[in-house]
Chain length 144, copies 2
């Protein structure tokens, strides 16, 4: 039997195109749609939450992989871009997410870092739970 865990959030409509989100782990914030879909700038949107879920999950799994692979990580930063298409029947889909991690490590074989990154993607809960193709374009720098 596989082990199961539950995670929850609650949203509430405030007014117009504004909502308030409360997450199970305690984070809380207003949200809206993107400005080009009648929403507001400066707050979380469903699109950003989706791309953030992938981006944050792969990073957390990479930290875990670095611990397992004994990689002395110096810095990790990752720009992630999700591409949405609108089909002719007006349904929408995130077809791909490109992740561009910039990784700096101390005196470490670059191949080991690549293996850790592949491992992070393989074990990422969010990466496994989405239909979008995930493309990793990493930059690895080994520093003294």
């Amino acid at each position: 039997m596989p082990t199961t865990f539950n995670y929850h959030t609650t949203v509430a409509w405030k007014n117009e195109h504004w909502g308030h989100l409360v997450c199970g782990n305690g984070a809380a914030m207003d949200f809206s749609a993107p400005p080009d879909a009648h929403g507001h700038a400066g707050v979380l949107t469903p699109e950003d939450a989706f791309v953030a879920a992938v981006n944050t999950c792969v990073m957390m799994m990479f930290l875990w992989a670095c611990e397992r692979f004994k990689i002395p990580l110096v810095s990790y930063e990752c720009y992630a871009e999700g591409t949405k298409i609108i089909e002719l029947d007006r349904t929408e889909l995130f077809t791909k997410i490109v992740l561009r991690p910039k990784i700096r490590v101390k005196e470490c074989d670059e191949t080991r870092v690549r293996r850790a990154l592949e491992s992070a993607q393989k074990y990422s809960l969010v990466a496994n739970s989405i239909k979008s193709e995930i493309i990793l374009e990493s930059t690895i720098e080994v520093v003294q």
Copy 2:
């Protein structure tokens, strides 16, 4: 040719199991893993971001559907719970998301509200982009 749009976020590792997230629409916050996975309480986690992406997206699409279906919405609140399983090979997957919207409308046919909710799910970008089964358990109350 389908129309395409891009959405981006950036994450950066701070230290230990802490990261910082900056979203394309302007929201910015610290994040971590869930406390039961070596993370910290009180901040965003990838798991919460994933469930929030679905929950916020379906709400925004429901607001849009209410406008189209001319439904006088009084209130909308939705608890969403995502179930993760850990497979024997230790990969993880969100198998289902249960959404429990509590909807109050003014003098309106309940069937129309149900149709609007189905429409919200059908046109939700995030709902369409995930592998998890989505289960809607709605409560609709018509008030004077």
